[in-house]
């Protein structure tokens, strides 16, 4: 039987990795992700998870090991944050093209400098173009559920791609929440054993990671993009089947009070819960406001986004990362490009906040709702709460 307990979100993610019968975990500890792999190393050490735990000497080696173990047909998991993801960068770009299913939990944390261990989305945005499926969790239950879903999607033969599961550092990773831990039989119903599309096998040798000169490179990258775009259908199907088994429905794009909203805030990750509270308070004052949250960031679910926000008068796009030297943040830029050629489009503005762990409050969202409705034709991002 599933049991609902109070548990730190990091440990719940580790429990999901255990319930998934993961074969290989190769990881290096880094705050705020450490509790995930620390708990996994305990589970392997005490025999409750029959997996190889590779305590590598760096994140560069962690992702290299993951590439190898996935290519050898093992269900593979790792986790990191910030500088750790930066150190993985070289291999991060290789995994999608080699079509190696790997699940990577990222407890999102700001990139240095200055050194900062707190939450924002600069780490994942630094590898957003690499070809990984990127999911964003909002709360603890979702972090556990999306871990199971990530394995299912990554290993689907129609996908065969790595998946990054983003959960906000500290705000999620270190909070104790009431979370339903499913039982093994139910997980098994949803998540079949990993059957790789190809595997490194000494009995039938093959080469993986070949040179691709000018004659192959363009086609190889395009083939990976095609696979990533096609994964959306499989992700939606996995969400539906997860609901059939566990009774919790997830969507690639979530809406809250957005259907009749004149002004919509679009956000990713855990701050949307704060934003929902702000919406409740503004709705009580009769203001037509709503929230749209992207659970899926890569591949960008364009049709679902247009459906969720296309009718709004004003769209305020939240970024937790500053793109230095550019007019807008990464999510802001993408929303502008999604609507660029649309005949009817919202008045889009871009707000950057919550960098390096700066608190984001209901009042910030109230300000954003007012500001987004009051201004037209914003030409550059606005940082909410910067002292200058």
């Amino acid at each position: 039987m599933a049991k609902r307990i109070g548990i730190e979100v990091s440990l719940a993610v580790a429990e999901a990795v255990k319930l998934a019968d993961t074969d290989v975990i190769a990881a290096y500890p880094i705050t705020p992700q450490t509790h995930i792999v620390e708990h996994l190393s305990e589970l392997v050490a005490d025999g409750s998870l029959d997996a190889a735990y590779i305590p590598v000497e760096s994140e560069h080696s962690a992702m290299s090991s993951c590439l190898g173990s996935s290519a050898a047909g093992a269900r593979t998991f790792t986790a990191t944050s910030s500088q750790g993801l930066a150190l993985m960068n070289e291999m991060i770009y290789i995994a999608p093209v080699l079509r190696t299913p790997i699940v990577l939990a990222i407890a999102n944390r700001a990139l240095s400098a200055p050194i900062n261990i707190w939450n924002d989305h600069s780490d994942i945005m630094s590898v957003r173009d690499a070809g990984w499926i990127c999911l964003f969790a909002e709360n603890g239950q979702e972090s556990l559920d999306l871990t199971l879903i990530s394995f299912r999607v990554a290993e689907d033969p129609k996908v065969s791609l790595p998946v990054s599961l983003n959960l906000d550092g500290f705000t999620l990773s270190h909070f104790i929440e009431p979370i339903e831990i499913p039982d093994k039989e139910t997980v098994d119903k949803f998540l079949p054993p990993f059957v790789p599309c190809f595997k490194l096998d000494i009995k039938a040798p093959m080469s993986l990671g070949l040179l691709g000169g000018p004659e192959y490179y363009t086609e190889s990258r395009k083939a990976t993009d095609d696979a990533l775009l096609a994964s959306k259908t499989v992700i939606k199907k996995a969400f539906a089947e997860f609901n059939d088994v566990f009774g919790r429905q997830y969507n690639v794009v979530e809406s809250y009070q957005a259907k009749d909203a004149e002004t919509i805030v679009l956000a990713m990750g855990s701050i949307s819960e704060t934003a929902m509270t702000a919406v409740d308070e503004l709705r009580a004052q009769g203001k037509k406001v709503g929230i749209v949250r992207l659970r899926l960031w890569r591949p960008l679910p364009i049709e679902e986004i247009v459906e969720a926000v296309g009718h709004a008068k004003n769209l305020a796009v939240i970024d937790r990362h500053l793109v230095l030297g550019a007019p807008y943040g990464p999510v802001g830029l993408e929303m502008m490009s999604v609507f660029y050629s649309a005949s009817q489009k919202p008045n889009i503005s871009n707000f950057v906040l919550g960098l390096g762990g700066r608190d984001v409050t209901r009042d910030d969202f109230k300000y954003i709702f007012d500001r987004a409705a009051a201004q037209q034709g914003q030409t550059r991002y606005e940082i909410v709460g910067v002292l200058e």
């Binding site: 190696t100 004659e215 363009t218 095609d226």
Partner: protein, 98 residues
């Protein structure tokens, strides 16, 4: 759209993960990257094997009965390390004429 002349495989025809038959580098002859080639003066060669061990591409073959080493020009990239390391200056890097 016209097919780009140097594309060899269509997007949809690439194998998943770009995996291939083992040993595929054998078919990939890199010798034409070379601008200078090693030319051996057999008279000076003392069959010490430095060229064989130092060549970063491992292209030297041991010609045991004749007591010298022969560079496989299908793969030699012309780096000149063998010529530099040869204690008898038996190897001369010579410009490739096209």
């Amino acid at each position: 759209m016209k097919k780009p002349i140097d594309a060899l495989v269509k997007v949809g025809d690439l194998p998943l993960g770009l995996c291939g038959a083992p040993g595929s580098t054998v078919a990939f002859k890199t010798g034409d990257w070379r601008s200078v080639r090693p030319v051996l003066d057999k008279e000076k060669c003392i069959y010490c094997g430095f060229c064989y061990y130092y060549c970063p591409d491992g292209v030297y073959q041991d010609m045991a009965p004749e007591k010298y080493y022969k560079a496989d020009l299908d793969y030699c990239k012309g780096c000149g390390i063998c010529a530099h390391e040869c204690p008898k200056k038996a190897i001369t890097m010579t410009l490739e004429e096209v």
